[in-house]
Amino acid sequence: MTAIIGAIFAPAADHKLPKIKVLVVDKDKNITAKFLLGAFDSPQLKEMFQATLVDEAEGKKLMAAGKASAMVVIPEKFSENFINAEKSEFLVIKNPSEQFLPNVVEEFMITYAVIMSGLVQVFEPKWKDIDAFKEKDFSLELGSLASMTPFLEGGKNKIATLEKYLSPLLIQLKNEVTGEKKQEAGFNIFSFILPGISVMFLLFIIETFTRDILVEREDGKCRRMMFSPLKPMEFISARVISGWLMGIAVYLVIVLLGVLLFKMDWGNYLYLFIFVTVSCFWIASFFALLNSLFKNRNQAGAFTAPIILVFSAFGGSIIAVGLLPAAFRWVSYITLNRWFIDGVDRIRSGVFPLLPFAVILLSGLALFLSASTFLKKKITV
């Protein structure tokens, strides 16, 4: 599953999302509308959008078939309104079956509208000097520079003023990423997915080993063993240790596969080993406790898989905790999955996960003691 999810989203992780298909209907057919088409054709936006000029009927047909994320309709007389600083309304028809991409187009158009509105206001009386705006089907290739001269002359002062504000831009925005996952440079989608899926896998694997406690209780094997020199605590510890060791062994294979198949960097291997050891102890103790409480195998079968899946759903194995609704995020703290994923993330950032380690170790010991108490009663009474 890690491989499938990773393969699907690996390109997205490199910020190469599929291009957003945008249909443009130009009802204005004048130079101002061509500014927008030119913008879509610029190198940065070309990486993001795939704009296609269509007539309205064809556009409607394609949108009704869901063939594009959005359709932008440039209104009639847009250029005329533009030079007169009068209001124009662009229509953005969004694909209703898509959840994100149409909103990107909408936000882009809102930003474009703000910038164009600014331009209109800055050069408001001067636009009228450009004869080209009055010509239908004007193109920059066919139009003469002479037609632009009155505008350039008249707007000279404005252009000089603009330079002070735009070159360099008076207010710039500098982006910084904070938080645990800020090491974007070596980002590997599998590193993001594997810890979550692997802890879910560990829960299932170790559970099957600790199920022996229940099987042996049901079969009466436990009571028979109590007639041997074996002490109850030794028997309980042996069962927990077998699940614990098996979990560690399985995780070592997962680590190895992560390195070989997914080229994962796990960080400090000693930290990882210590952390995985403690986590496997927690899981073994947790299921030892559950198996000491369950009455029979059917009850165990009915409860364990749902518990693991709920842990995984809320703990970040199925979906990142950061994406969960705020009300659910606190639930994640009572799951091992959350602490395990946090811990592995920290190890990968080169830090020992002290808090996750302490939480897992202490709660694991509490679970082990509880399991021992319950189990001792069940096998000795």
């Binding site: 209703p96 904070t178 609704p325």
Partner: protein, 371 residues
């Protein structure tokens, strides 16, 4: 026909009596729906993206700029010192006003927590860029900062953006649940029918139940038909439970209900045949569960049940066509979001029936009465 119904009914009774049945058919899908539906909420339940603004500016421009950012989609919280935890923060420097007065270029730092929602971060960043564009335009129009606040001309939105959906489709923005529930229906039909359906076929064969049925007056065709019908009804029960839950609690819009039901029926037919095939060729329950979960998850991932298919690269969208889930999901999309009619989903139904034909051939070919 009565015998077919009887065999099917027994299988369904066994499935419903399983202690975990309601967890798998109702509770677990509900957790899925609730989590994913809340993530992909859509605009019908707008949640403002939070932005902490640390305003260190000693002049009036910092506060003015903050007012520009305050739009309906952004929840702005102004603070005096950088908090320990935040989703995203904009830091306005101490000399912000001074540099604006001196017409000196400057940088605002926008910090985004990598663990927080990236969609909300992009939304906030876009609004900040729009505020920057608006402020610079006003400054160009009124360069005298001394009299700016008294005499400035406020920014006018000359160009307005109106949004809508294609004609004859939706009138209002679909909710996240409208997107998520069809995917969950498709995924859990696969999970339930493959796991329960496959396991029961295998158990019945190993315990000699199939052979004993043939000692009655039931023919092999009726036996096979009963098993097939049982699995078809299992799929429909799963779909029915989720549709009712969706309608009652999440105001689910299924478009044309009849066509959505038809889509669920045809999809269940496909998966019913596949489950008999799996139950016929595999001999261990654990193996059937493992293979079924894996197949259901692979089909779901490729078919667009887990995430919006639009963010998946084209290669994987094309590859997704090998998954019956893709055709069922595409069909749901056409019905729910594009108000599609029978003609629009006919191809999808034909392809699904094609899958059903192949799986039925395999299921009949490998169907065994005893090991």
């Amino acid at each position: 026909m009565k015998k077919i119904w009887h065999i099917a009914f027994i299988d369904i009774k066994r499935m419903v009596r399983d202690k975990t049945y309601f967890f798998w058919t109702l509770l677990f899908p509900l957790v899925f729906i609730f989590i994913f539906g809340s993530i992909y909420k859509g605009d019908t339940q707008p949640t403002a993206a939070s932005l902490v603004v640390l305003n260190r500016d000693t002049g009036p421009w910092g506060a003015y700029f903050i007012e520009k950012i305050k739009t309906p989609g952004i929840d702005v919280q102004v603070v005096d010192k950088e908090p320990a935890e935040y989703s995203r923060i904009l830091i306005i420097p101490q000399d912000f006003s001074k540099k604006i007065t001196d017409k000196e270029a400057q940088q605002l730092v926008f910090k985004k927590n990598a663990d927080a929602n990236t969609q909300a971060a992009a939304q906030v960043e876009t609004k900040i860029i729009q505020a920057i564009a608006g402020t610079i335009t006003e400054l160009i129009l009124h360069p005298d900062t001394a009299t700016f606040f008294e005499e400035r001309q406020p920014f006018k939105n000359i160009i307005e953006i109106k949004t809508g959906f294609p004609e004859n489709t939706l009138k209002k923005m679909p909710s996240g649940f409208d997107h998520v529930i069809p995917g969950t229906i498709v995924q859990f039909i696969m999970m339930m029918v493959l796991i329960y359906g496959g396991s029961v076929v295998m158990e019945d064969r190993q315990q000699g139940v199939l052979a004993r049925i043939l000692f009655s007056s039931a023919s092999i065709g009726e036996l096979w038909g009963g098993k097939f019908l049982g699995r078809l009804v299992m799929g429909l029960i799963q779909a029915f439970i989720l549709v009712i839950t969706g309608k009652l609690f999440f105001n689910l819009n299924l478009g044309n209900n009849f066509l959505s039901l038809l889509n669920a029926v045809v999809f269940s037919i496909t998966i019913a045949s596949l489950s008999i095939f799996i139950g016929s060729v595999l001999n261990k329950e654990d193996l059937i569960i493992g293979i079924s979960v894996l197949l259901a998850n692979i089909f779901s991932a490729l078919g667009g049940c887990w995430w919006p298919i639009e963010v998946v690269p084209q290669t994987f969208r094309t590859l997704g066509m090998i998954s019956p889930a893709f055709w069922a999901m595409d069909s749901f999309h056409k019905i729910i979001f594009f108000n599609g009619g029978f003609g629009d989903i006919a191809l999808n139904l034909i392809v699904l029936l094609g899958f059903a034909l192949v799986f039925t051939f395999l299921a009949v070919r490998f169907f065994r009465i005893k090991d």
